[in-house]
Amino acid sequence: MTTEDNQTIVLVPIGAMGLGIDEGDVERGIAAGAHVIACDAGSTDSGPAYLSNSMSKYSRAAIKHDLRILMAARHKSGIPLLIGSCGTCGADKALDWTRDIVLEIARELGQRPRIAMLYSEQEPEAIARLAAEGRIQPLAPFEGADPETFRQCNRIVALLGPEPYIAAIKAGADIVLGGRTTDPAVLAAVPLMRGAGAGPAWHASKIGECGALCAIRPRDGGVLLRIGKDSFEVEPLRPGNQCTPHTVSAHMLYENSNPFVLHEPGGMVDATNAHYEAIDDRSVRVTGSKFVVQPYTMKLEGTARCGFQTVMLVGIQDRAVLKELDAFLARMHEVLVARVRSSMGDGAGDFHISLRPYGWNAVSGLPVDDGSPPPREIGLMFIATADSQALATQIAKTCNPWFFHLPLVEAQELPSYGFPFSPAELERGQVYEFRLNHIVSVSDPFELVRTQFIEVQEEVANA
């Protein structure tokens, strides 16, 4: 076991800020000699809306609960607190939203921490210029870096590496709130600063950034990482939970399109020859992790605003219809589109109608196998997409009579399918899309970053 001088202990309280940090986990980590509390607050898992709207996925109360515990621990122990990808998306407004919660807690607890903010949102026009200069490369499935692609985005963030966090701590920050950051970078910052091996630091951070997901009970809390020059160790913070060589090595599979190689700003983590060994029944030591230095690039995430959607839902139990579902739905789609065209003409604009038969093939979108028995009932969802919310709703209203009453066969008595609501149409709001999967070459890790320091005394005086 390496001595304290040769290793850095990282306290990872949970896999995602807002999921409910356990005070006991944090106390145990501090008692074990942690040098830093590091937590990832971000994700793109839940789609583009959060980035597009600069908003957090989790509630303010959930975030405040977790931050409060961490700020209390930071204050008591004196070690720094790093939060990456604040407000889920790491956009500027989401970072400011997090800062305001931190300031609120600081006031309530009578703390005056020095706070560093690392902004990583980018102006679409500025990124378009970088694309025109040839500094941006596409990742699959994109094949080009047309400046227009970036201009069309309403929000772009660049994913921070560890360097801005390190610089902020060296400049005296007690709490660092980061904009969008690569998940492992928040955890790797302090180990790298203290001279840990790059391979172990990055690999450990990838393993640890989801908290106990690398342990036998994945929903139970966080982990402690001990990172040295040539190896790292990982153990869960919750008593009774266990990390095993299997759970730790399998974690490289999680969220990774390649189980051995992970691209990060400034290089590549290579776990191909990593060796996992049990120290005891709950801790694992990993050796053989490599970091291959490469030219520094930052990943870009970007969203664009698209059309608006209005939704209707009916339930269908009619056995005759359910026996001929594919043919029925094809005919209904034709009838609805024709009705919108004849009723609204060009006034409908560029519109789209989608029918989703839940209980049949709404989720797969693929033809159902021949000979499959009919469902007992389906929930048929109608989605109209149009240039404005009002138009999408007019289209839904136009379709309503036939969505509601279309018989299986023409010139049959009209059925009535089962709406659950009045009014039938539900305004779903704007559609957003991720438009980017690109990397930008930068001259240094700070080129696209804005760092700001906040002194809480001033904030308290101005409150």
Binding site: T44, D45, S46, G47, P48, A49, A140, P141, H246, S249, A250, L253, E255, N256, S257, N258, P259, F260, C306, G307, Q309, H352, S354, R356, A362, V363, S364, G365, L366, T385, V431, Y432, E433, F434, R435
Partner: protein, 83 residues
């Protein structure tokens, strides 16, 4: 990217089935509407795991979304016959 991890029961079943035609990029690609050269194929022998990865056809959460987190994509693979 969507990534699917297939955990085989043991080394023997992994070794026996990992080279099944239906699991190779050419077999997987048409199921998800992508090209074989876009499918990543990663056998992890010491974990008895086969990982396959492929890009989404449409952007996540856009106009046409059926499975936001991609958590139901595995269902198409479950019924494949491995020969």
């Amino acid at each position: 990217m969507i990534t699917v991890d297939m955990f085989f029961h043991d080394q023997e079943s992994f070794d026996r089935y990992v080279n099944s035609k239906v699991l190779q990029p050419a077999g997987i690609a048409p199921m998800f509407g992508v090209r074989p050269d876009q499918v990543g194929f990663y056998p992890v022998r010491n974990l008895h795991v086969l990982k396959i990865s492929y890009p989404r056809k449409d952007p996540q959460g856009g106009m046409i979304e059926r499975d936001l987190h991609g958590g139901q994509q595995f269902a198409r693979i479950v019924d494949l016959e491995l020969l």
